[in-house]
């Protein structure tokens, strides 16, 4: 059965299945969400108004048998945080179930006329609109529990916490993990507020009896799958017992700190003296010592990398899953907090309230920078989540994210680009990532430009990756490769083995070709990725973005970052070169 688009109209509570138009037939994941948003959403619309849409799409290979680590879902729309196009990508249980229902995408549009809230229940038989008034004001932990009790077959739950209900700009979208915990987030860009504006508290997806995913060429798919699986399971970083499996993404904390690039105390230093206490190594020690929680946890069935963890409390009981590097930076080093237990407690609050952890921690850091709270005050930081939960005026400001909080409290050190705050790599110390932060259509985003092999990217021998000169071309290549991987449904972390093992790269492309029937090889990846970027950049141009939006914050040009005492030196011209080809 050919994939369908499920269009859900909240203004009259109706839905219909549509054929995927030929112009979109080749897309999955991010490629599909961005194309739909670019065509169906007015770039000048208010993100919370009736003309924005939330588009949800599994990747090309999601839902296929044993495609490794392929459970990623793309969420797209116009972002309340950046005002531009947004694709936010999540693990969890949703991708495979949506794909197995035969759906290429779900488009959520309109707003209920009766101002009521709904739970949408999607099964092979269609969509049921159930009133959600009993779930309002509830956190995602309780919502997931209630919905798994109410609906059989352990469905995927896509939901928003109180912050999404109030349509604040730092609202993320939660997806439950295999244990029905809400820690997998399409966090960035405030898409939870876009979902809230449609009057939808949660979407229940039960794929029982669904048609499954059609595979055009099973032999090719299996060949590609094997090559990719072999690459993942043999690489030091992604194999069982490898870096990601043992320490999670927080394996980076000590490395980035040793390099002097760890955002610390609202991006005022690149070295945090307490980094090792909040690192992946310390999580591994804590799990062993407390006899609870775990490392090597998978965010969805079929992940063979398993970078997630479950952090235990002092008594060894599961507290929250996962504590990631970005979270430990934003709620830890960037707030001057060196206590993992507090970082875990704040992560729990974020997951329950429906906040993106990166933006939430960076927001607290900006608030601290205003003098309202001391850096390192972990009790004070934790208590701010009560303000958000109670939706006090302060809580509402904090729920709006870094930029709004900086404006409300008179802070000039505002680590945002296009309104979205920076993740865990200081651009003054790691300048290559700064080029990507500045120019990606998504706002400052560390997942926008993943490295791929130079011979594959076609940049090998053409640029010197050690000099400032090559950064524009490399950033574009990385962004294009990432846009492609974000469309596959594969987790971005497959980028590590396929960088070092060429058969892995070929295997990824072959598995996609096998599923879709398109003739895609490794050589096509960059051009396909660039098509997606062009659509996204064009949306932002129509929304009013200019070159001035592709710049790091001003303070990074004059405030020297210890320990290397560096400022941002990449020229505006170099930044403008990244996407000069779009308009030429």
């Amino acid at each position: 059965m050919a994939r369908k688009i499920l269009r859900i109209k909240m203004d009259d509570l109706s839905y219909k299945y549509e054929e995927v138009p030929s112009k979109w037939a080749k897309w999955g994941g991010r490629g599909l969400t961005s194309n739909i948003v670019a065509e169906e959403v007015d770039p000048t619309c208010h993100p919370l108004g009736p003309n924005n849409k939330l588009v949800i799409a599994p990747g090309w290979v999601s839902g296929t048998p044993a495609a490794p680590s392929s459970g990623r879902t793309s969420f797209g729309g116009k972002s309340p945080l950046t005002g531009g196009i947004k694709e936010s990508n999540s693990g969890g249980t949703s991708s495979q179930k949506i794909a197995k229902l035969g759906l290429a995408a779900i488009i959520l549009e309109g707003m209920p006329k009766d101002s009521k809230w709904y739970v949408l229940v999607i099964t092979k038989d269609g969509v049921k609109f159930e009133e959600a008034n009993d779930l309002l004001g509830k956190g995602m932990y309780e919502v997931d529990e209630i919905l798994w009790k109410k609906y059989p077959n352990k469905p995927a739950i896509i939901g928003i916490g109180m912050v999404g209900e109030k349509k604040l700009s730092n609202a993320g979208i939660s997806v439950n993990d295999p244990e029905n915990k809400p820690g997998r987030y399409a966090g960035r860009g405030g898409l939870g507020a876009v979902m809230g504006a449609r009057g939808v508290k949660a979407i229940v997806v039960d794929d029982t009896g669904g048609p499954g995913v059609e595979i055009a060429n099973m032999d090719l798919f299996k060949t590609g799958r094997k090559k990719l699986t072999d690459a993942i399971t043999s690489h030091d970083l992604t194999k069982p017992g490898g870096g990601l499996n043992s320490y999670g993404t927080n394996v980076l904390m000590n490395i980035i700190n040793e390099a002097g690039g760890l955002p610390t105390r609202n991006f005022s230093a690149g070295y945090f003296e307490g980094a090792s206490k909040i690192s992946g190594e310390m999580i591994a020690e804590t799990v062993e010592k407390r006899g609870g929680g775990m490392t090597g946890h998978g965010c969805h069935t079929g992940c063979i990398i398993k970078c997630s963890n479950i952090y235990p409390d002092e008594d060894g009981n599961d507290l929250v899953s996962p504590v990631e590097y970005e979270t430990a930076m934003s709620l830890g080093s960037n707030c001057g907090i060196d206590d993992l237990d507090y970082i875990a407690k704040m992560t729990y609050q974020c997951d329950d309230l429906g906040l993106d952890t990166i933006e939430a921690g960076n927001t607290i850091a900006v608030y601290m920078d205003s003098g309202a709270l001391e850096f390192g005050d972990k009790e004070g930081a934790l208590s701010l989540f009560d303000e958000i939960r109670q939706m006090t005026p302060l809580g509402r400001i904090l729920g709006q994210g870094v930029k709004a909080t900086a404006e409300a409290f008179g802070v000039f050190r505002v680590p945002t680009i296009k309104g979205q705050s920076m993740p865990a790599y200081e651009p003054r110390a790691i300048k290559g990532i700064g080029v990507t932060y500045a120019t990606t259509p998504m706002g400052a985003d560390h997942t926008a430009g993943y490295t791929i092999a130079p011979e594959i990217a076609g940049v090998g021998g053409k640029v010197d990756p050690l000099s400032d000169e090559g950064k524009s071309e490399l950033s574009l290549t990385f962004q294009a490769a990432t846009a492609f991987i974000d469309s596959t449904g594969y987790c971005l972390f497959i980028a590590f083995p396929i960088l070092d093992i060429p058969e892995g790269w070929a295997g990824m492309a072959e598995s996609v070709a096998g599923v879709t029937g398109q003739s895609i090889t490794g050589d096509d990846v960059i051009s396909i990725g660039k098509e997606i970027l062009k659509v996204e950049r064009d949306f932002n141009t129509r929304a009013g973005f200019t070159a001035a939006d592709d710049r790091p914050p001003e303070f990074m040009r004059y405030e020297k970052l210890p320990p290397h005492n560096e400022v941002w030196t990449v020229s505006d011209k170099a930044l403008d070169e990244v996407f000069a080809w779009v308009n030429s």
Partner: protein, 116 residues
């Protein structure tokens, strides 16, 4: 006699009597270098990943570019296990020692590992 502060990250912390993290202060002779330090803590090169001296990257997994790099009193050395990851895009533009820079220009800077 120079004293060098060393932190070992990951399972190599066992060479400093730790589990996942170990910090030690080592007294080394005047002409100390990184090779000597690794010998002193008995860390085999095949178990050594990224290596930093005072926030400057001196070595990467599978290369032994740093062994002749000198150390001086008060230096801090951070050493990671080979399973530690550091994707290229998150290290593009960081400070490298001259010897490592030359070695990477030869080997290809964007790889995650240089082990055979």
């Amino acid at each position: 006699m120079p004293t060098i502060n060393v932190t070992l990250y990951g399972d190599i912390a066992q060479y400093g009597s730790g589990k996942q993290l170990a910090t030690l202060d080592l007294d080394l002779p005047q002409d100390a270098n990184i090779g000597l330090l690794l010998e002193r803590i008995r860390l085999p090169s095949e178990e050594r990943g990224y290596l930093f001296v005072n926030s400057v990257l001196h070595d990467v997994p599978g290369l032994n570019a740093s062994h002749n790099d000198p150390l001086k009193d008060g230096d801090h050395v951070g050493i990671f296990s080979i399973s530690h990851m550091w994707p290229y895009q998150y290290r593009q533009g960081i400070h490298l020692s001259d010897t490592l820079k030359a070695a990477l220009e030869e080997k290809g800077v964007m790889k995650n590992t240089y082990r055979e």
